[in-house]
């Protein structure tokens, strides 16, 4: 399928990129498969942005670049800081990355330890760690689960705890990989309300177009390792030729 490169077709709000700037990012996996072919993206304070596109479009690969787990060619800047070896620890605290499978994210025996993992490794004092854990669990409304064992939780509960594990680091950018995948309607609804209420800049990759429509004012469409559209969600979701060309559906 030919990919057409349309840019600036949608009236996106002007943004200098004070939270995130990605400039011409390229990355190939060791097996030669090139996942990112020059991605550029800017996010500003308070932006809530959906990242959509078919499987294999490079969404997850892009997300792994945002806190330096993968290192491609090109620039990544977080809050004005260029991603480099020296400021990697600081950037990892600034970018809260939540993986798709909560079983990968929750690796400690208890919920408390998992939520405390980030702050502890930032070197914060004990009292601060405790208050951050309590605040993060409160934010996802899971305070009662503090001492529970992670493997006894349901998927929806694990998802919310996974979000708490990065909220406790008080990140300035929240990056979520398919947060609503595999959730039942009630858990999904709870998650949507939670994401709406969180006052943090976020970039969320998803296939859930209803979620996009409901929650995110701005949408970025990726396909074959490129950003093919970036603009107001309301306009992108009306452009059926664009959606069809990239394997997406109008909600």
């Amino acid at each position: 399928m030919p990919v057409t490169h349309v840019t600036n077709q949608f009236a996106a709000p002007e943004c200098g990129g004070d939270v995130l700037v990605v400039n011409d990012l390229r990355f190939s996996y060791p097996d030669g498969h090139s996942a990112l072919n020059g991605v550029s993206l800017k996010l500003c304070e308070g932006d809530k942005v959906a990242l959509v596109g078919p499987n294999g479009a490079g969404k997850s690969t892009l997300m792994l670049h945002l806190n330096g787990i993968l290192n491609g060619q090109g620039d990544v800047e977080i809050a004005g800081m260029r991603l480099s070896r020296e400021n990697l620890p600081v950037i990892r605290a600034l970018v809260g990355l939540v993986f798709q499978n909560p079983d990968d994210q929750l690796f400690s025996p208890t919920v408390f330890e998992d939520v405390a993992f980030g702050p502890l490794h930032m070197g914060l004092p004990e009292a601060e760690v405790r208050s951050r854990v309590d605040a993060a669990l409160e934010a996802v409304r899971m305070s009662a689960y503090r001492d529970r064992l992670s493997h006894h939780l349901s998927v929806g509960e694990k998802k919310r705890i996974a979000i708490a594990t990065v909220l406790s680091m008080q990140p300035s950018l929240l990056v979520l990989d398919e947060p609503s995948a595999g959730l039942d309607p009630r858990a999904r609804r709870t998650l949507i309300n939670l994401l709406r209420d969180l006052p943090i800049t976020m970039l969320v990759s998803t296939h859930d177009m209803k979620l996009v429509q409901e929650l995110f004012p701005r949408t970025v469409v990726m396909d074959e390792g490129r950003v093919v559209a970036d603009g107001l969600t309301s306009e992108i979701l009306e452009d059926e030729p664009l959606l069809n060309a990239h394997g997406l559906e109008k909600p």
């Binding site: 400690s108 502890l120 064992l149 493997h151 990065v166």
Partner: protein, 271 residues
């Protein structure tokens, strides 16, 4: 589906549950070492150890026979010691022929065999009780406090966390195999063959091998994702933990009492 088959913790409010995990781990280890040190045929000391165990059972409020019931499954492993029946020189008690060899049971051998059986049985019961009254994360904390190297406690913690995920994975694989092991309509293959999934032993072995390979690959890839998740939250090669445990005076008294009892037990066993 969750597989909690390995979780042996029983949530209850009791003296033993409230005790600091360090005390419980320490006393369990000393109890087991003490059992191993008791001489053969120290029946009074064994009885005394069993009374101590009974007391622990009662204090745990799990019922005085709790550890007894659970210990039955571990008992067959003690049968490994059966060779001592024949291998220790002493007064012959009886002999029998098997596969052309004459086996002679001696009195010293019998004494040692029964003693080993009792020792392992007592030790297993205490370990069962420890796991039943201590949450697993607390056990790991206790090991950390007792200066077990961090790399070991970390491995144990990860093992515990992902044992459940992996068993879930195994059961998913098994279910997927079962639901595709059918028979052609009209074939005479009986249900029990379908339940054993497919054709001959060799075929099944091959499928099982594939599944083991799959499981290894999936675990390997999962370990990569977990490591990424750890990196994303600032992991740089050292694990930090917060330990909410604090030794209270009752913990010290309990330790002192248990150690005194175990010393008394040794004294009874030797005189």
């Amino acid at each position: 589906m969750h597989f909690d088959a390995f979780d042996r913790y029983h949530d209850k409010e009791s003296f033993l549950h409230r005790l600091d995990p360090r005390v419980k781990v320490l006393v369990t280890v000393i109890f087991i070492v003490s059992n191993a040190l008791l001489p053969d045929g120290a029946w009074f000391a064994f009885g005394f150890a069993w009374l101590f165990l009974l007391l622990c059972n009662l204090l745990s409020k799990l019922g005085y026979a709790y550890s007894l019931k659970r210990s039955i499954i571990a008992l067959p492993f003690a049968l490994i010691a059966i060779t001592v029946l024949f291998s220790i020189p002493g007064k012959p008690l009886s002999s029998f022929h098997f596969l052309g060899i004459t086996f002679t049971i001696t009195d010293a051998g019998l004494l040692r065999f029964v003693s080993i059986l009792i020792r392992s049985w007592l030790s297993v019961q205490m370990a069962i009780l420890l796991v039943a009254v201590t949450r697993f994360p607390d056990l790991i904390h206790a090991l950390e406090h007792l200066r077990v190297p961090a790399i070991l406690t970390t491995i144990i913690a990860f093992l515990y966390r992902y044992l459940f995920v992996l068993t879930d994975e195994v059961f998913r694989l098994l279910r997927a195999r079962e639901s595709r092991s059918g028979a052609v309509t009209g074939s005479k293959r009986r249900l029990e063959r379908v339940e054993r999934s497919g054709r001959g032993v060799l075929w099944r072995a091959k499928i099982a091998g594939n599944m083991a390979g799959q499981l290894f690959l999936r675990s390997y890839e999962r370990s990569d994702r977990i490591y990424n998740a750890m990196l994303a939250r600032g992991y740089a090669g050292r694990l930090y933990t917060l330990n909410p445990h604090e030794m209270k005076s009752v913990d010290y008294y309990a330790t002192a009492f248990a150690i005194a009892v175990i010393f008394l037990m040794q004294w009874i066993g030797r005189f």
